[in-house]
Symmetry: C2
Subunit: 197 residues, 2 copies
DNA sequence: ACCGGCAGACTAACCAGTCGGTATGTCATC
DNA sequence: GATGACATACCGACTGGTTAGTCTGCCGGT
């Protein structure tokens, strides 16, 4: 136990991030006081401001983490060796599963993004745009090769699908009738069916 | 000019509601101070607390208004004399158009609902559920009669579509390449295409 | 004379961020 | 292997600023 850890061995910065994620998702960014975060993490304000510049930095870090993860996974599926329709289906289903696995991150993402300062907001939007474009490229590839209908602009199709993904945190309940994989399969199926020529 | 109006003739409660709607959408509920609302409405706190019990009541009233409007329109389309697929298409497209017409209400709705107290939140959820169920019934009707595929549970289809509607406030820009009617037609088309048997 | 409609000063609570201080660890030097 | 210099990790009281809601009272209509 050399530094920055407690009895359970998790480093303080990670504990703070975890506590903040849970609380931000539960009560919202503005309604969560710094005091509550540090108490949940078992430290004090001094520790928080030692590792993070501000409360906002904490929020941005939550975003950065989830964005990195999703982009990584999308790239892996999109660049795989398989027919377009299969790659799209896999990518579309995967983002649903990982979103369900991190519902807290998801609800923070779409409810608290506008709480970031303009610069940080811009930074997040840039990252998000890259993700969007990779997904769109996949759809356009299928449209060019004729396996997907070109009736709808690819951009709109992407927004259609990600609307439903963001919406997951509103209605999905782990104890509901459908498992995350079933939901993912259904939503991917809806996307592919909408794209049939 | 007898009471509760100013130079432009709009009653004070409505001016307060309009100012609150705009500001809540712009900066979020928590970031909007009561002082800012009353200044935007051209009155003072005394006036606000004369008509509304609390800041939260103001938010709830915004919800109630938009819910009534949407429910009314859905019922009209769903109960019309026409084939199911046409009624669903019309209803699905209409909710997109009216959402775009009231983007402020939409973003408040999905970003600030969790700021309501538990009781008021429950009340809103009940209303929202009725809306959801009317829409679902429409899809189930089509599934039973065989014009829609039954591959996906109707519930999930509804959430899929409303996810995209909710998401509109994130990406739709009035000065973008697509008019609200074009967006509505495309989104309704995607829904209907996904439901093809 | 009374009352709805409103003004605006006031209060009690809260909160992000600061800052001086302490404890523990590391490393160079003798 | 003792000593001192310095750094890292953290504590917690304090501050300056903000905010929702209250309350007293004025004002114009009936």
């Amino acid at each position: 136990m050399s530094k920055a850890t407690d009895q359970n061995g998790t480093p303080v910065p990670q504990r703070l991030l975890a506590a903040a994620t849970r609380l931000f998702a539960e009560r919202g960014y503005d309604r969560t006081s710094v005091q509550e975060i540090v108490e949940a993490a078992g430290v004090t304000k001094g520790a928080l401001y030692h590792y993070f510049g501000s409360k906002e930095d904490l929020l941005q870090e939550v975003y950065a983490r989830v964005l990195r993860l999703q982009q990584e996974r999308l790239d892996a599926f999109a660049n795989a060796e398989a027919p377009v329709e299969e790659r799209l289906r896999d990518a579309a289903a995967d983002v649903v599963v990982t979103t369900i696995d991190n519902l807290d991150d998801a609800s923070i993402f779409f409810r608290s993004m506008h709480h970031l300062s303009p610069e940080k907001n811009k930074q997040v939007r840039v990252e998000r745009r890259r993700y969007h474009e990779r997904f769109r490229a996949l759809i356009e590839e299928g449209q060019r090769s004729g396996v997907f209908s070109s009736a709808t602009p690819a951009d709109l199709v992407v927004d259609y699908h990600f609307g439903s993904v963001h919406h997951l945190s509103t209605w999905y309940r782990p104890d509901g009738p459908l498992s995350r994989q079933e939901v993912a399969d259904h939503l991917a199926d809806l996307l592919l069916r909408a794209l049939r020529p």
